[in-house]
């Protein structure tokens, strides 16, 4: 029995890259448990799209958010109770269309959260429109003559926004992806995992990715090197592209405080209010 599965019926297309992401994350959770982080402490969230369905398929607590907002949702969870590990599954349309401001700011403030991007270069659930990461010329129902916009580079963008953990994975390289996920969740700060996710129905990229992916043999030790790897076009390097230790947002905000577990007593609070009023 798969104790990380729910009774929800899986409705992804056969061969969809999302299956690999789901399988990899379950493995990652089991490894995290072995390493001491119980699943009751791992909160998940998701945007709206094919990717978001992972929320229903995972027997983990959390909040199924709205389109493009899951990264704000999990930041709120983390600020309220920093003892929790929080992970959002986002779509490429979701994260870099609706949610781009949240992505940039979460990285900028080094929020201690993990974003797993189901990067399929397409709006899957709404039947195949181009997304912020689709190649120029991409043909979809809203761009029948081909997209006339340049794509965003999620890795470079997140690096530029001061993300402290940036990685790229590919479900076909499952164990490699699992390892990245474990490290991303363990990272204390903003971690971003761009998962190359083929969409067999609207953007089948298996062949292209299989030919282009290349597992990095080391974690680059400079920001400059990370940027140049993120921008490579000839190859699609996989692995941790950048990692930096930096004070996470909630610690900078309130140190070792925890709003829900260290809450001030009512009596103390009232005393302080009375003091403020009599000033």
């Amino acid at each position: 029995m798969d104790d990380l599965a729910t009774y929800a019926e899986n409705t992804w297309c056969l061969g969809c890259g999302n299956f690999g992401i789901l399988g990899a994350f379950k493995k990652a959770v089991r490894i995290l448990e072995e390493k001491g982080t119980g699943r009751e402490k791992i909160m998940i969230s998701a945007g709206i799209g094919c990717h978001g369905k992972i929320f229903d398929y995972l027997k983990l607590s959390g909040l199924y958010s709205i389109h493009g907002r899951s990264m704000a949702t999990i930041q709120g969870m983390k600020i309220a109770n920093p003892d929790l590990k929080v992970v959002a599954f986002a779509g490429d349309g979701d994260a870099f269309g609706e949610g781009i401001a949240h992505m940039i700011f979460a990285a900028k403030r080094n929020a201690d959260i993990t974003i797993i991007l189901h990067d399929n270069g397409v709006y899957g659930l709404t039947t195949g429109q181009f997304t912020p990461t689709s190649e120029k010329g991409f043909k979809g129902p809203s761009t029948p003559k081909g997209s006339i916009e340049e794509p965003l580079n999620p890795l470079a963008l997140m690096l530029e926004a001061k993300a402290t953990f940036v990685a790229r994975g590919y479900p076909v390289k499952l164990d490699h992806l699992v390892d990245i996920m474990v490290q991303a969740v363990e990272h204390q700060g903003f971690s971003f995992v761009d998962v190359l996710q083929p969409c067999v129905s609207f953007n089948n990229t298996y062949k292209r990715y299989n030919a282009l992916v290349e597992i990095l043999d080391h974690v680059p030790d400079s920001y400059q090197e990370a940027i140049s790897i993120a921008k490579r076009q000839d190859k699609l390097p996989l692995g941790i592209i950048y990692k930096e230790e930096k004070l996470p947002y909630h610690k900078a905000l309130y140190g070792d405080w925890n709003p829900v577990t260290k809450r001030m007593s009512k009596e103390e609070r009232i005393k302080r209010i009375e003091a403020l009023l009599s000033r």
Partner: protein, 551 residues
């Protein structure tokens, strides 16, 4: 106007310390045990323009400023010209001789004296305070102490300047208005401070907001006093993040509040509905200014009533309440925090710039508040959306061995997405039952304030209640003022009894939204609707004559 009220106006350009001078004068009056109402009229700019601060004081309760002043201090020609028309019959104009020249009133060389010290422009406000002290016969020692505590930067020069101005003013008009001491010294708060402290008293853990007048000062206040109060204040990238973060925090068990004004609140609508769907307890603060759109940022209006009542898409219970005094702002915020947690649905505290930013002496007993009571899970398999009689499901917070799933899609009791027709219907009904549960609960609560017991019935709400009560006081008009504190659900059960009366409605709206609401929900057809929609609150004298006209 009855002599019992004394009003002071100080005008000037933004950046000259006009508002500060108003608030310091308010302190001076409060320190005499008097009650105070201080309203700032300022523009959406940082330097220049024309700002003024009105401070009215009485020995009794006072719930509005008066626009006609007994003392005006005009540091420049523009202030002189504008506020000449604001002098009461006994009013005295004290003007800056250096900028106005020879004119009617009492000329004082405010600038010449200020130039003896560095940064003369910033000192003019201190001169205004010294003028008030002289005119009301306050002694120099009291003035010295006031300057010391209120202008902590460059204390010695400020004191020296204040003493000089006092000595120039005193021989001319010193002691002209002898203000008696009142019964006791009270704290002064703005409506926003009352709301921030009320939320804290009600158990607030986290406040999220993006700056927007007139809501910003709640964010500023809580950020300044975060450690002291044990409240976390966060200013994220935009209002959409504000609302979604707040819902995430509520999921983790934090008592959370957000705040904004019209435009920012519009950005929160999508997530307001998310709160309705996931059944997140969430308190929202909406401080209105004249709209639509950017409108008039630093002025006042009650034009967002319908917006507040119909916030969000889809069907779910909403609670909307609007306080009619600073004290009520404090208690009601705590009470609303309890309600949104009790019913796990979003609620809105609705005010406007007039209440949010005016400074008033208050009697607040912080102990008269309680922390939210929530239905909590007591064991067995946890179902987030357990179908209950009143629609409210028990809460459980992470970390827990139980599965806790909040879902923006329609869901089953476990919080797993569904498109099953019978489940959809069941959950729609569950959420709908909460509306009735809220209304039933409110039936046993104090939901409508009634002031007075004879005379015509005046229906009003929010900050306008303060204006109406002061209008009646100043002209000794007998009337019954009926103010619903709750607007959604509207306490029709309390309001119905006024259907047969001849009713007057007073509100700060051009369309008359409050009157329409009363007509639609209660069937009240007012004899007259007194409206104002120029961005300024009512003056009690003007309002009193409009009330007299229609009764």
């Amino acid at each position: 106007m009855k002599e019992e009220v004394f009003t002071f106006i100080v005008g000037g350009k933004a950046g000259e310390g006009v508002r500060k001078a108003g608030s310091v004068t308010a302190r001076l009056f409060a320190s005499m045990g008097r009650q105070v109402f201080n309203m700032d009229d300022y523009g959406s700019l940082i330097k220049g323009g024309h700002n003024f601060s009105v401070v009215s004081t009485a020995k009794r309760k006072i719930t509005s400023h008066y626009i006609n002043a007994d003392l005006v201090v005009a540091p420049d020609k523009r202030s002189y010209d504008i506020h000449k028309g604001h002098l009461s019959e006994r009013g005295i104009m004290v003007y800056n001789y250096d900028t106005v020249g020879e004119a009617e009133g009492v000329g004082v060389p405010l600038t010449t004296e200020a130039k003896k010290y560095p940064k003369p422009d910033l000192r003019i406000g201190v001169g205004a305070v010294a003028t008030v002290a002289a005119v009301i016969g306050s002694d120099k020692e009291a003035l010295r102490n006031l300057i010391k505590s209120e202008y902590p930067r460059d204390i010695e020069n400020n004191i020296a300047y204040a003493m000089t101005i006092y000595d120039i003013v005193y021989p001319k008009i010193g002691n002209k208005f002898q203000l008696q001491r009142g019964d006791k010294e009270r704290p002064i708060v703005t409506g926003n401070e009352a709301i921030a402290l009320g939320a804290a008293a009600g158990g607030l853990d986290i406040y999220y907001a993006y700056p927007m007048t007139p809501s910003s000062s709640i964010l500023h206040y809580l950020a300044a006093h975060d450690k002291e109060l044990g409240v976390t204040a966060v200013h994220p990238e935009n209002e959409i993040a504000v609302m979604n973060m707040a819902i995430g925090s509520a999921f983790a068990g934090a008592k959370t509040m957000v705040g904004s004004s019209g435009g920012g609140f519009a950005l929160m609508q999508e997530a307001f509905s998310l709160a309705g769907m996931v059944e997140a307890p969430l308190l929202c603060y909406l401080g209105s200014r004249p709209g639509p759109s950017t409108g008039v940022p630093t002025h006042t209006a009650q034009g967002d009533l319908n917006f507040a009542l119909h916030q969000g898409h889809g069907e779910f219970a909403r609670i909307v309440a609007s306080p009619g005094s600073m004290e009520e702002a404090f208690y009601l915020t705590a009470e609303m925090l309890d309600l949104v947690w009790r019913f796990q649905t979003p609620g809105i505290i609705l005010t406007d710039k007039h209440m949010a930013e005016s400074r008033v002496t208050v009697d607040i007993d912080a102990k008269k508040t309680r922390w939210p009571e929530t239905a909590t899970h007591s064991g067995g398999e946890y179902k987030r959306y357990l179908d209950t009689e009143n629609g409210v499901s028990p809460l459980l917070f992470p970390p827990s061995k139980e599965l806790i799933k909040w879902d923006s899609y329609e869901h089953d009791e476990m919080g797993v997405t569904t498109e099953d027709p019978s489940m959809i219907a069941k959950m729609q009904e569950k959420r709908n039952r909460k509306k009735k549960a809220v209304a039933d609960y409110l039936t046993n609560m104090h939901t409508v304030n009634v002031y007075g017991n004879t005379g015509p019935v005046i229906l009003t709400y929010g900050s306008t209640t303060m204006s109406v009560l002061e209008a009646l006081r100043c002209r000794e008009i007998e009337a019954m003022v009926v103010q619903p504190v709750y607007l959604e659900p509207l306490p029709v059960w309390e309001l119905e009894k006024y259907k047969e009366n001849s009713v007057i409605v007073v509100e700060l709206s051009c369309a008359g939204q409050f009157a329409s609401l009363l007509a639609e929900k209660v069937g009240i057809q007012p004899k007259a609707v007194i409206k104002k929609y120029d961005g300024r609150p009512f003056d009690p004298v003007e309002l009193a004559s409009r009330i007299k006209e229609v009764v």
